[in-house]
Amino acid sequence: MTRFSAFELFRQGLSGQAGWKPQWRSPEPKAAYDAVIIGGGGHGLGAAYYLASQHGLRNIAVIEKGWLGGGNTGRNTTIIRSNYLFPESAGLYNHSVKLWETLSQELNYNVMFSQRGVMMLAHTVHDVQVFQRHVHANRAAGVDNDWLTPEEAKAYCPPLNISDNMRYPVLGAALQRRGGTARHDAVAWGYARAADRLGVDILENCEVTGIVRNAQGAVEAVETTRGRIRTPKVGVSAAGHTSVVLGMAGVRLPLESFPLQALVSEPVKPVFPCVVMSNTIHAYISQSDKGELVIGAGTDIYTSYTQRGGLHISQHTLEAICELFPQFRRMRMLRNWGGIVDVTPDRSPIVGKTPVPGLYVNCGWGTGGFKATPGAAHTLAWTIAKDEPHPINAPFTLERFRDGFLIDEAAAAAVAH
């Protein structure tokens, strides 16, 4: 596999950039693997990469029913931040941000991580109090977060409308400067390429249809549309379909799957310097490197697996965007789409073991899983390899619902990501 570098780019340029080869193999499934990851998004491919690079498991496979990064990895609004309220969350999300900071170098693949700052707007007295509490909690937990006045917020993001005649005027903002965005496809492709180089088999167009357990109840094999694959360990990173996949092993989960919509505008020159989110009026916006404004909304109100939602949800979001940024009123929207997000009762993920020996799960990321891709993948790989939780994902067990140790991030995570 060719290592990417400026010199290699120049060398390929001499032959018209026509010499590039596919960046990962398309192998036939083997009869058996030491571990199998279900789900070829960033989380699953990342787990395979860390299993291979940090835990020495090379005989592993990633099974994807469609194409790599075709689920929520390719459908989200790519926002990365770690300004969650509770110490457990700060540990997990900040672990991710730290991994993001060196990910391009580690994978030798430019994931275009841009720490342009994530600004969360406060529109009511309650917002102000909650966000200031977040700022203090974050700083105590070692997560950067600053409180801005409306004038400071406008200085950081000049398109912002801070006039006081809005329906929900901006009363202040919390700014995490280390937050930002990354290129979503590149995350899946970068992990896939790096994992493939370490010997991981990536099996696309291969849907899991069953999980086979032995007499002791432990995982023995997975049935797929490309045949039975024997394996003692299965990690599931199937996002909105996790309930379906774990149902094959008889495991019930505290998950409900909702459609979450996003949309992009026509591409324009750089007009938007950072990420702005407003939980109160349900909108978040940034500008991609292609120039499109990337806009996200809240979830639809009903559970669904359709990967689409009602247009009135997008309309509601655009009304908020147009009020916050009046200059975008005449922008045309190019595309909108939906992804299926698995939401837990406390809006925190489940990463770890299941009641079935050899079966591990990484789910419940709800509306904000992209930001956690490296951290979730890294800790899941640890748990699969050692059959015990990493200290960072230890609080995020399935048993916390039974034992009453919820990590209730609804205030930080219920609406926007």
Binding site: H241, V244, T303, Y305, P345, F401
Partner: protein, 96 residues
């Protein structure tokens, strides 16, 4: 936007409704005798099926009453709506 048939008011647009989660989860008759696993099941575990789902809806901006619905989560199509307290319609009987 979905068109939802309230069993009391007839077909109305989705924005008049609130979604109430999975239907037919009865509160335990004798809560104090319930074990921790059963409480977990009652409070948190959900079917989340890919296919026909029994769920509660509330006609919030209409009659404000709760009712139940069968909806296919792969198409969002409503199969049936019925009043709270009525048993889940037997779909095999409907199609036969």
């Amino acid at each position: 936007m979905l068109l939802i048939t309230c069993p009391y008011c007839g077909p109305r647009p989705e924005i008049e409704f609130a979604h109430g989660g999975e239907a037919h989860i009865a509160r335990p008759q004798d809560p104090s005798s319930l074990g921790v696993e059963d409480w977990t099941e009652f409070l948190y575990m959900r079917a989340n099926p890919k296919g026909v789902h029994a769920e509660r809806w509330r006609h919030l901006h209409g009659c404000a009453r709760f009712f139940n619905a069968l909806r296919d989560t792969t198409t969002d199509q409503f199969v049936a709506t019925y009043k709270t307290g009525e048993p889940r319609p037997d779909l095999t009987a409907v199609t036969a």
